[in-house]
């Protein structure tokens, strides 16, 4: 019988626990437990009424059994009886049992709620606290319904004991988290905020958790807390370590409260009031200064508490992202920690620097630590620290250091822990794509990646590579050659196009490894074989022989068998023409959000990859696939449909990007290349004249993407509002207005008033063109972010050309109509300097994006472009002819438009003159 019981030790319980501990086997333990359960059951069912002590003891035994991991399906009623006991310990055990073994039996809940109600009104602080604890521990909706209105009263009442106030504050917080709709602060708001001024530090500490949570949801109502928090913080920061008595923790004054104050301030933008802001900056500087002072104690508790405040202050500095001076100091401080002997500090410094790397003020400062971080990746003993180092390298990577970082990550992959390999692979793949300056480097990197960590390379990475390689003719040769050398990987799609010379030799070489390949690879190989037949008829006999052999045509794998049969048949029946058509090269993939980015996001869970990051990479990817260094042969297209699809998996349009299968399928359903975007243009509106999808607007808070489609005189526009912050937007509303005499009918449904942090919502606009128009409809967006009302107005990119129907016509027709539209006001002409690439394919894509038909062989000068289309409005059709004459030497264009309506000629001319 151990003597380790204290207070009201229950002897029987101690004996029972002892017995269980002495059990030599699991079976013996279960036997002992069953014996005890039978005993308790009989006691509870017995005729003799049990006294409070026995009840408490048995309930406690049941609790112990439950905590050992066994199911308990009785005893609830006895526990509820204990709640109404006058003895504190009996009540306490009763509440503990109820808290741990919640039961949804409604009769029981009624009894429990009654007991709680009695205790709350008992005016006995210990009983009140027990009741509040029980509510918080259970935290169910039923509890919230019963008590949510009562607790704020207790919290702010003048005669409530401090300890009860503390419990009430946190209890309310808990209820608010489960049922925010039931906790209405209303009239209590200002009194709750003023708890920040309470004399009792414990009350402030508890209340601030509640206030922080409420502020996140209703920043406006609680914004007075900012100045109160700053002055409270200032008093703590400047106090001597002994001033706060028991709230000083290892010589650090009130570390918990300090951190919570700093956390609360992170719910708001920097204070507008100069004096408050000055005081706060002073506090932050003091905290940074203190980090340099010699420690007041050698205990780790001292340094932990002190550094906890420091890290929280740095988080606030990063959140404000507006004080370059503080940001750089924060970065230097973290730099010191990167080399600290405490592993914990190195870990946190790496973590915190990740967020710092995304600030424009400190990105460069973060980059100076690259060697230290690389060293951490190589030498840290602890895998979780190495993982943080890899995260930071990923975050600090940009064009200037990409090669170095990718190389380091690749070499780390060779020995990386299995647990983080897949994520590392995704990151390398993303960085390689994002910062590829030349394609051979990209292909080398990806192939290296596959060589080093083949098993961890997910399908998404594969598909992405194929997408990029197919979109770039110039890289195909290199890719295939490299792949061929490696010969571990064969991707049939672009393979066929590059095997020149001695095809039979190459085929034999390829086929010699066939039996070593996995089923999917074999399937791709078979596709490559049929392409051989198409390109090199001399290999036909050999390959047919291969296809005909039993191991192919009777292969147990259905897919392989089917391919073998079909290809064999195809090669023997189809004429060369048919074969050539069937096996024509794949059209370029429309540019889309990187499927690997989506995968990383999915892997990390929601919110892990911010909207900003996605967008950033998209922009970069756009550069890679069709930006400044675009070759003359590219028809690849940043954006259409793609942009929005993947940002949130919930985006309802188009195929799901995460589904690897659909990636290949929807290539065919997509409408093909549209216009490539012009180089970056501040004016979102003008970027959409020749394209329908993309990011219309973006700032630090909000990203607005659009996707639109038009038929005849009708259009539909999907607007995607993405909240880039982690804070909810409240009172979110949008209105579309048509200024002046704009002849558009735009209808929309109101949007959800709340946009959660990181979430995206969609709005659909239905547009009808009544007659031709010049102005654009205006989109006004209002919402509340962190207390401030945000209001912005954008021009919606609905331009007259969206209602074009392309018209094909012969040369003679064209000139006949051209002559018919010969009145001077029907023609609009402009001569202007080229602002963008004069590349043929780029121009063609833009003109197609305009919505007209691009007519070949019409203009005697083949350099010129000629287009025709009809604008559909509700009332009339307006015929339009266009001629664009580039002068490559002078880098100039002459643009001429002739339309059946003079206003349209003028408007189109204005719009188009800024597109080329």
């Amino acid at each position: 019988m151990p003597a380790v019981s204290k207070g009201d030790g229950m002897r029987g319980l101690a004996v029972f626990i002892s017995d269980i501990r002495n059990c030599k086997s699991k079976e013996a333990e279960i036997k002992r437990i069953n014996k005890e359960l039978a005993n308790i059951r009989s006691k509870f069912k017995g005729d003799k009424a049990l006294d409070g002590y026995s009840k408490k003891k048995y309930v406690c035994k049941l609790l112990f059994i439950f905590l050992l991991g066994h199911d308990i399906d009785f005893g609830h009623m006895e526990a509820v009886n204990l709640l109404s006991s006058n003895k504190y310990t009996e009540k306490q055990i009763g509440y503990l049992f109820i808290s741990v073994l919640v039961n949804s039996n409604s009769e029981l809940i009624r009894l429990i709620n009654n007991a709680i109600k009695n205790d709350l009104s008992s005016r006995n602080p210990t009983f009140m606290c027990l009741a509040l604890h029980c509510i918080a521990n259970v935290g169910s909706r039923e509890m919230a319904e019963a008590f949510a209105s009562e607790i704020p009263r207790i919290l702010v009442a003048g005669d409530t004991m401090d300890s009860v106030k503390q419990s009430a504050a946190l209890c309310l917080l808990r209820l608010y988290k489960t049922s925010p709709d039931l906790v209405l602060m209303g009239e209590w708001t200002s009194r709750v905020v003023h708890l920040l001024n309470d004399q009792h530090m414990g009350v402030v500490t508890a209340a601030i958790s509640l206030i922080t949570c409420l502020s996140q949801k209703n920043p406006d109502e609680f914004k007075t807390c900012v100045s109160l928090a700053v002055s409270r913080l200032s008093r703590i920061v400047s106090s001597a370590s002994t001033d706060l008595q028991d709230y000083t923790y290892y010589f650090v004054p009130a570390p918990w409260l300090s951190c919570k104050l700093l956390r609360l301030l992170q719910c708001y933008p920097p204070p507008e009031d100069g004096a408050v802001k000055g005081r706060l900056v002073e506090c932050l500087e003091t905290i940074l200064n203190k980090a340099q002072e010699p420690p007041k104690s050698k205990k780790v508790q001292h340094s932990n508490a002190k550094n906890a405040i420091l890290f929280e202050a740095i988080s606030l500095i990063i959140h404000y992202d507006s004080e370059p001076n503080l940001l750089v100091r924060a970065c230097n401080q973290l730099g010191q920690f990167l080399q600290h002997r405490e592993t914990n500090l190195r870990y946190l410094a790496l973590e915190s620097m990740c967020t710092l790397a995304s600030s424009e003020f400190s990105h460069e400062a973060v980059k100076t630590h690259i060697e230290t971080v690389i060293n951490a990746l190589k030498t840290e003993r602890d895998v979780s620290v190495r993982q943080r180092a890899a995260d930071l390298l990923y975050a600090m990577c940009d064009r200037s250091n990409a090669k170095q970082i990718v190389a380091e990550m690749l070499s780390y992959l060779e020995t990386a822990d299995y647990s983080i390999r897949e994520e590392m692979v995704l990151k390398v793949a993303i960085l390689a794509e994002k910062y590829a300056v030349d394609y051979s480097w990209y292909v080398d990197t990806i192939l290296n990646l596959i060589r080093i960590a083949g098993d961890y390379v997910s399908e998404e990475v594969w598909y992405r590579v194929i997408q990029i390689v197919i979109n770039r003719d110039d890289v195909q040769g290199y890719a295939a050659k490299t792949v061929f050398e490696v010969l571990e990987l064969v991707v049939g799609r672009w393979f066929g196009s590059v095997l020149l010379g001695r095809p039979l030799v190459q085929f034999n070489l390829l086929h010699s490894k066939f039996h070593l390949c996995s089923v999917p690879t074999r399937a791709l190989l078979l596709s490559a074989y049929i392409k051989f037949i198409n390109l090199f008829p001399e290999t036909k006999a050999t390959i047919q022989e291969v296809l005909r052999c039993d191991s192919q045509i009777r292969n147990s794998d259905v897919e392989l068998q089917q391919r073998a049969v079909e290809y064999l048949k195809l090669s023997s029946i189809a004429s060369t023409d048919v074969l050539a058509t069937v096996l024509e090269e794949m059209p370029p993939f429309p540019e889309r959000e990187s499927s690997i980015l989506a995968k990383l996001k999915k892997k990390k869970g929601p919110g892990a990859v911010s909207v900003t990051e996605l967008d950033d990479s998209k922009r970069e990817a756009g550069e890679l696939n069709g930006g400044a260094d675009r070759g003359p042969d590219t028809a690849s297209t940043p954006s259409p449909s793609a942009d929005l699809l993947g940002i949130r998996s919930a985006a309802p349009v188009g195929a799901a990007q995460t589904n690897a299968g659909s990636l290949l399928v929807d290539v065919f359903s997509d409408s093909g290349p549209a216009a490539p975007s012009a180089a970056v243009n501040d004016d979102g509106f003008l970027r959409f004249v020749c394209k329908n999808n993309g990011v219309l607007f973006e700032n630090q808070l909000l990203q607005i993407g659009i996707k639109s489609e038009y038929r005849q005189n009708l259009g539909r526009m999907y607007l995607f509002y993405g909240n880039k912050t982690s804070v909810q937007f409240a009172s979110f509303s949008t209105t579309v207005s048509c200024p002046g005499e704009l002849q558009l009918n735009v209808q929309s449904k109101p949007v959800e008033p709340l946009v959660e942090g990181g979430a995206q919502i969609q709005q659909v606009l239905n547009i009808e063109c009544i007659t031709d128009f010049c102005d654009a409809p205006l989109l006004n967006i209002k919402f509340r972010y962190g207390g401030a009302l945000q209001n912005l107005t954008l021009k919606l990119p609905v331009t007259i050309n969206k209602f074009f129907q392309p018209t094909e016509m012969s040369s003679s027709d064209f000139f006949q109509r051209w002559k018919q539209l010969s009145q001077p006001q029907q023609e609009a002409q402009k001569i202007f300097k080229a602002n963008h690439s004069m590349d043929t394919e780029v121009l063609k894509a833009k003109l197609l994006g305009l919505g007209t038909a691009l007519l070949d062989n019409i203009d005697p000068n083949p350099e010129n472009y000629v287009c025709a289309g009809v604008i559909q409005t509700k009332g009339q059709q307006i015929g339009c002819l266009l001629r664009l004459e580039p002068n490559a030497q002078a880098q100039m264009y002459r643009l001429t438009l002739r339309c059946s309506k003079d206003t349209v000629s003028k408007r189109l001319c204005e719009l188009l003159a800024q597109q080329f």
């Binding site: 151990p2 380790v4 204290k6 207070g7 009201d8 030790g9 229950m10 002897r11 029987g12 626990i17 501990r21 002590y53 406690c60 609790l63 905590l67 504190y88 310990t89 306490q92 055990i93 503990l96 210990t126 918080a136 935290g139 300890s163 503390q166 419990s167 946190l170 209890c171 808990r174 988290k177 489960t178 530090m201 414990g202 500490t205 508890a206 958790s209 028991d246 923790y249 009130a254 570390p255 918990w256 951190c259 956390r263 508790q301 932990n304 508490a305 906890a308 929280e312 592993t343 914990n344 190195r346 870990y347 946190l348 003993r381 602890d382 979780s384 620290v385 990390k604 869970g605 892990a608």
Partner: protein
């Protein structure tokens, strides 16, 4: 804080406190994962690790591991000191607390935790204040004589 677990080197769970509603199945999974992760870590590793979307903070005191699951915004270093403060409180109450104290007085361990944390937030950081309320509670209890005279079953 989402949860707090105490388990021994041998993988015996000594205390579990959940601050957000989870099903029993999910709880078991968390407990299993935590033990697997934490017990496998070599000594002198850092006290933090990432598990799903939670930050895990753990510390070993003698034979017991204290392990907390934090939300993204929580401060790891401070959580480490929450664990330490809890150990201090246990120590103050039991006097040189050991694993056995927590096994035989598991209900007390829960009560002390309740005085200190509520809904995963810190309720009272003063050791004095928590100590006082525990003492108060004890004075409401039986004397040792009463205890010894109680039947064993």
């Amino acid at each position: 804080m989402r949860f707090l677990l105490l388990f021994s080197r041998q993988g015996k769970l000594r205390l579990q406190k959940w601050f957000t509603p989870l099903t029993d199945r999910e709880k078991k999974k968390v407990i299993r994962d935590m033990m697997m992760l934490v017990l496998a870590r070599p000594p002198r590793s850092c006290n933090f690790l990432q598990w799903r979307d939670l930050k895990i903070v753990y510390k070993r005191y003698a034979s017991l591991y204290f392990c907390a699951g934090l939300e993204d915004k929580d401060n790891e270093l401070l959580a480490l000191e929450v664990l330490h403060r809890y150990v201090e409180l246990l120590d103050k109450y039991f006097g040189n607390v050991c694993e056995l104290d927590i096994i035989f007085n598991f209900e007390k361990a829960y009560f002390i935790l309740d005085e200190f944390l509520m809904g995963g937030e810190i309720l009272e950081t003063s050791k004095l204040a928590v100590g006082v309320s525990m003492e108060e509670a004890d004075t409401l209890q039986e004397t040792m004589e009463e205890y010894m005279s109680k039947p064993a079953y």
